[in-house]
Amino acid sequence: MPSHPAIRFALPAALLLLAGLVLASLGMGDMNLSPARTLAGVLRQDELAATVIWNMRLPRLLVAMFIGAALASSGLVMQAYFRNSLASPGLLGVSAGGTAGAVAIIGAGLTAHSLLFLPVASIAGALVATALVIALARRGAGTERLLLAGIALNAMLGAVSSYVLSNATLTYERNAQILFWLLGGLEDRTWEHVKMAAPIAAAAALLWPLGRQMDLLSLGADEAQSLGVDVRRLRRRLLALSTVLTALATAVAGSVGFVGLVVPHLLRLLAGPEHRRLVPLSLIGGAAFVVACDLVGREAGGLRIGIVTAFVGGPFFLWLLRKKT
């Protein structure tokens, strides 16, 4: 298959970009470290640098990479599933489902026992949202129907979160906890959060071999079925994976918008529509995008990640919408 040189170099280029961003993310901050000192810190040869990196910057970086990879690949899957390049976890309300689940569990006070309740509740909430969006939009749905279903779901699930928050029986402390969690972000992420996000790697590994079948599915379910793809099985897997990916990202860092929309789109423009390439690229590119946005937010004096991605992604989405109609 003939491929454009730009396509062949997309993966190495993305890896290089990510490596550069990783170095910058570990080096930059209140205490700026040179690349050499950053490396020394990572290798624990420089005690002060090692403390800063291993206790603060590395867990934050890892969480950023995990959620970026998760949200971007989740968006890619939803776009192939719905055959609509505007589908994404945020717009369809899957993120809001994860948020509602998490908020409910914090409100119930269960996170005081174990943080692990958070991802479990988030997955449950996101699954409910996915089921609803499927019921509302049907597959291969037109942009209008899909986005309207997303608006309705976002509003409904947002109301669930508001209800828990406004429930007068909650203590002030718990409310503060919920509010803080709702803001999301990568501040003060610890190795505990990294552990919570780690299953994202497993989900990504399960997604990896499905790229070819996603190609066929993205051109029509019946067509894919007649060409030999077990569409029902594929769809179940894709939905489960994209939902879990989004839910885990939400559980760890709150709702971070537009990553699942922007990253797959940019990658498709750069590297073409073939999912065998797009799956690995969206994992790497998503990680790079969130790390970059986090860097920008940190340098801008501590903007939360969700604010930066919204400022980047919002205009991009409007531009896409204009281009499509």
């Binding site: 070819r212 190609d215 029509g220 060409l227 073409g272």
Partner: protein, 242 residues
């Protein structure tokens, strides 16, 4: 004796009732009937995409006994309308026809050439015209190498020349022992096929040799038109030398 395609008493509530049809290998069959008579439904049932009561067999094997991947090697289905959201190249869409063969790329160039798509091979499919998209789907179906071909109105979006070429393609496929069932609206074209299958309100009204099936009485009853044989415009491909 088994047919290439055997449909027994296929029923889809509200759309198809009790259709029994058998096509032998080497048959080029046209499926005609007014709008809403069940042509697309029958093709979907025949291709195993739409569950129906009754039974469908390919070359004697009941469909449930054929694994999904194997079905991709035995039959190809072409939808009525081609909608592409993503900018895959024409070549890569046609190459999808080889999915069930482990993406070996076999016969892709030939399929492109047969459908006059070689010059468009590197163009993104979402920027093509309706007729061009239709040809891409047909090329993909041919590339599968599947003996049983089921096409839903393949000629609808095509200009006269390409429509004629599709008919010749179908002819070549069936002369080589393959089987083709496709729906069409042009009754004059139906006259030149081996077999014509007439659906009316979800029921099989008639099936057989066109000259025997397409009687004025039947056309009046099914289509509500009065048929008349008159000298009319006819097309042929120019010989290669001219």
């Amino acid at each position: 004796m088994t047919g290439a395609l055997d449909i027994t008493n296929a029923t889809v509530p509200g759309r198809l009732s009790g259709v029994t049809l058998r096509l032998d290998a080497g048959t080029m069959a046209g499926l005609i009937g007014p709008n809403g008579s069940g042509k697309s439904t029958l093709l979907q049932v025949a291709s195993g995409l739409l569950p129906a009561s009754g039974e469908v067999r390919w070359a004697g094997l009941p469909l449930p006994r054929i694994p999904v991947l194997e079905r991709g090697r035995r039959a190809a289905w072409v939808p009525q309308e081609a909608r592409f959201e993503f900018g895959f190249t024409v070549r890569s869409v046609v190459a999808q026809g080889r999915y069930a063969h482990g993406d070996d790329g076999h016969g892709v160039d030939e399929a492109l050439a047969r459908l006059d798509l070689t010059a468009l091979a590197d163009r993104p499919v979402n920027h093509l015209s309706g007729g061009e998209r239709q040809r891409v789907l047909l090329a993909r179906a041919i590339a599968t190498g599947a003996p049983l071909q089921l096409w839903d109105e393949p000629l609808a979006a095509l200009d006269p020349r390409h429509a004629l070429e599709i008919l010749l393609l179908g002819n070549k496929h069936t002369r080589a022992g393959g089987t083709l069932l496709f729906s069409l609206h042009d009754l004059r074209m139906a006259c030149i096929l081996d077999i014509v299958v007439v659906l009316h309100q979800g029921r099989l009204r008639a099936a057989g040799i066109p000259s025997e099936v397409l009687t004025p009485d039947l056309l009046l009853e099914v289509f509500g038109v009065r048929a008349e044989i008159t000298p009319s415009l006819s097309f042929a491909l120019p010989s290669p030398s001219s």
